[in-house]
């Protein structure tokens, strides 16, 4: 496998369930294997996210096109790929009358770990996800949050290169959700695992993912590099001042920024890369203006998502850029 092998590669992928075509010829390349990055799969219910994941795992066969995961063809050579993948399904999936440690050990052995190593890793991973004290309890006695953690434990016990998480924060309380997101972040940053997260919770994706794909009606409608977005010049300031702001527009180029007045002391200012919000404070101070409100923000994933879904014509960042170019 070369160092630039995409985690997921789709070529005109079409999937039919019965007579209905669910995925309509998707083509894209997501992530790079071995980089420890997370790709988020977003979309409303029925967008085809789970179908895509099931196809990538080899559970559904494409009706046309090709899907590759870690360079392996999903329809032909999944046997090789599956040792390198961990999967956490969306729904409850466990063996009720087994203890957590026996369950995770069995899953590790099925992934190819020798029995002793599997036992050791099962203990380690259960402590890691916070189930250390409950590891000898039968899984059917677990709460929903504990079952989610047990599912995560079985997905990572064998140290996979890629972990596929389907709605990992489903049904979790805020504390458990935070813990789950922290674990996912650690999987990337400390273990170097690639992660594919399928969720309809934008904040979760925004928090843990480096790349996001938005799906709608079986097609990809937006593909963005969140890391790039975070670094890019799409950062802008919403400013509200009192005083005579007639010279503010002319003064903005002093700090390399552009902006427009929206009337009544309200301004929308685009900050170029490298310019911090402090520069706005300084400029406004020099103009003897009183700041009533200053919001420094980027386009949120929610705004990007709403635009991709057709509910917004422009994200606020795009609107600022267009305004700045006037």
């Amino acid at each position: 496998m070369s160092s630039t092998t995409p985690v997921v590669e789709l070529e005109n992928l079409k999937v039919r369930l019965g007579r209905r075509e669910i995925l309509h010829g998707i083509t894209c390349r997501l992530g790079v294997s071995g980089t420890g990055k997370a790709v988020g799969l977003l979309g409303p219910n029925g967008a085809g996210k789970s179908t895509l994941i099931l196809t990538l795992l080899g559970f559904l066969r494409p009706s046309a096109g090709r899907a590759r995961i870690l360079g392996f063809d999903c329809a032909r050579s999944m046997g090789d790929a599956r040792s390198r993948i961990g999967y956490m399904p969306e729904n409850d999936a466990f063996i009720g009358d087994m203890t957590a440690v026996a369950f995770v050990r069995q899953m590790a052995e099925l992934s190819g770990l020798p029995p002793e190593a599997a036992l050791e890793k099962a203990h380690q991973v259960l402590f890691h996800v916070g189930l250390g004290e409950a590891r000898y309890r039968e899984l059917r006695t677990y709460s929903l949050g504990m079952k989610q953690m047990a599912k995560l434990a079985q997905a990572i016990v064998h140290g996979p290169e890629l972990v596929v998480l389907d709605e990992p924060t489903n049904g979790l309380d805020p504390a458990a959700r935070r813990r789950m997101l922290k674990l996912i972040t650690e999987m990337k940053s400390e273990q170097g695992m690639n992660v594919l997260v399928c969720s309809h919770l934008l904040r979760d994706i925004e928090q843990v993912c480096d790349e996001a794909v938005i799906m709608k009606e079986g097609a990809i409608v937006h593909h963005c590099d969140l890391e790039e977005e975070r670094r890019s010049n799409r950062s802008f300031v919403e400013l509200e001042v009192t005083g005579d702001d007639g010279n503010l527009r002319a003064a903005l180029p002093e700090i390399g920024a552009e902006g427009v007045s929206e009337g009544f002391g309200r301004w929308r200012i685009v900050l170029p890369p490298g310019v911090e919000v402090d520069a706005i404070w300084g400029l406004v101070g020099r103009q003897k203006l009183l700041v009533r409100k200053l919001t420094h923000r980027r386009d949120t994933l929610e705004e990007i998502f709403l635009k991709a879904m057709g509910h917004l014509a422009h994200t606020p960042g795009e609107a600022s850029l267009e305004v700045g170019q006037l």
Binding site: L17, G18, R19, L54, L57, G58, F59, L60, G79, R82, S83, I85, G86, Y87, P89, N91, D92, A93, F94, I95, G96, D97, M98, A102, Q106, M107, A108, E109, L110, S111, G112, L113, P114, A117, E120, K121, H123, Q124, V125, F127, H128, G132, Q154, I156, V157, H158, G159, V164, Q191, G192, M193
Partner: protein, 286 residues
């Protein structure tokens, strides 16, 4: 260092052979099955008849102990095909009940708990999963069927000598083959009922009912249509006919061993199709 202090690190060591990994499932399943007291008890009870048979073999090979007995009776108690067929009927009965007890716990919980996607997202195919589940039952039932049967056979060889072996080796081979056919049918029936019925008790009842209902239907066909071929759909009757052919015992009236073997093969095929349709990681509703 204690496990909880070590922290989690990705496993990077050697992996086990890909083609033997499915054997993990039977190992765990046997451990769970023998934790059921009823299974353990029935398994122990199933050893009573082989022990009695061992005593019988000992007696028939010690003429001095039979001196006082009638000559006709002494000729009657021989270790031959008839002896092994009687041994097989009794043990086959125990096997039916053991399969009904242990079988439903194999696939039904995996389906009820949606565990199949977890298995199939690993290097385990549907066929290797099915084979692993089949091995659980065949392995467990072997303990009370052909293994004690083979021990009895070698006990007889040990007591009667090489000449008896040369003349009767087909009995040993026939018994093992006959039992394996029966275990295959029993296991597939138990797996199929386990795959379709989520409740263990009901699945056990279904797997027992399969044999009784087919036997009843076969009897009905024979009586209503005044024929003898109706029994071919009764797996117990068909396997009995095959056993008789393998052990050289006079067949019962009705379709022959070859026709019975074909009927059993068709049944196996049907059961495999039934199981194959159910063992899917995701169910697609057209």
């Amino acid at each position: 260092m204690a496990v909880y202090k070590r922290g989690y690190r990705r496993y990077t060591g050697p992996l086990t052979g890909r083609w033997t990994r499915f054997l993990v499932l039977p190992r765990y399943a046997w451990r769970r099955i023998y934790q059921q007291r009823l299974v353990l008890l029935l398994t122990m009870v199933a050893f009573v008849w082989p022990i009695l048979c061992a005593g019988f073999i000992y007696l028939t090979n010690h003429v001095e102990l039979l001196q006082g007995l009638d000559r006709e009776f002494r000729e009657f108690i021989q270790v031959d095909g008839r002896f092994f067929s009687i041994f097989m009927y009794v043990q086959a009965g125990f096997a039916v009940f053991l399969a009904a007890l242990a079988g439903p716990g194999l696939i039904a919980p995996d389906l009820a708990n949606n565990a199949l996607p977890l298995y199939f997202s690993r290097p385990l195919t549907r066929w290797s999963y099915a084979l692993a589940r089949l091995l659980v039952l065949v392995g467990m039932l072997s303990v009370v069927t052909w293994i004690p049967g083979l021990i009895l056979f070698w006990l007889q060889v040990g007591l009667a000598g090489g000449e008896w072996f040369q003349a009767n080796w087909t009995l040993g081979a026939g018994m093992v083959a006959g039992f394996l056919v029966w275990l295959l049918i029993l296991s597939l029936v138990a797996m199929a009922s386990s795959a379709y019925v989520k409740w263990r008790v009901v699945a056990a009842a279904v797997s027992l009912a399969f044999f009784f209902i087919l036997s009843g239907v076969a009897e009905m066909i024979d009586n209503v249509l005044r024929v003898r071929w109706g029994h071919i759909i009764d797996p117990a009757w068909a396997v009995n006919q095959v056993w008789r052919a393998l052990l050289g015992v006079t067949p019962v009236e009705g379709p022959g061993a070859v026709a019975s073997a074909w009927a059993l093969a068709a049944m196996v095929l049907l059961l495999v199709v039934v199981i194959e349709r159910k063992l899917r990681p995701v169910e697609v509703v057209s």
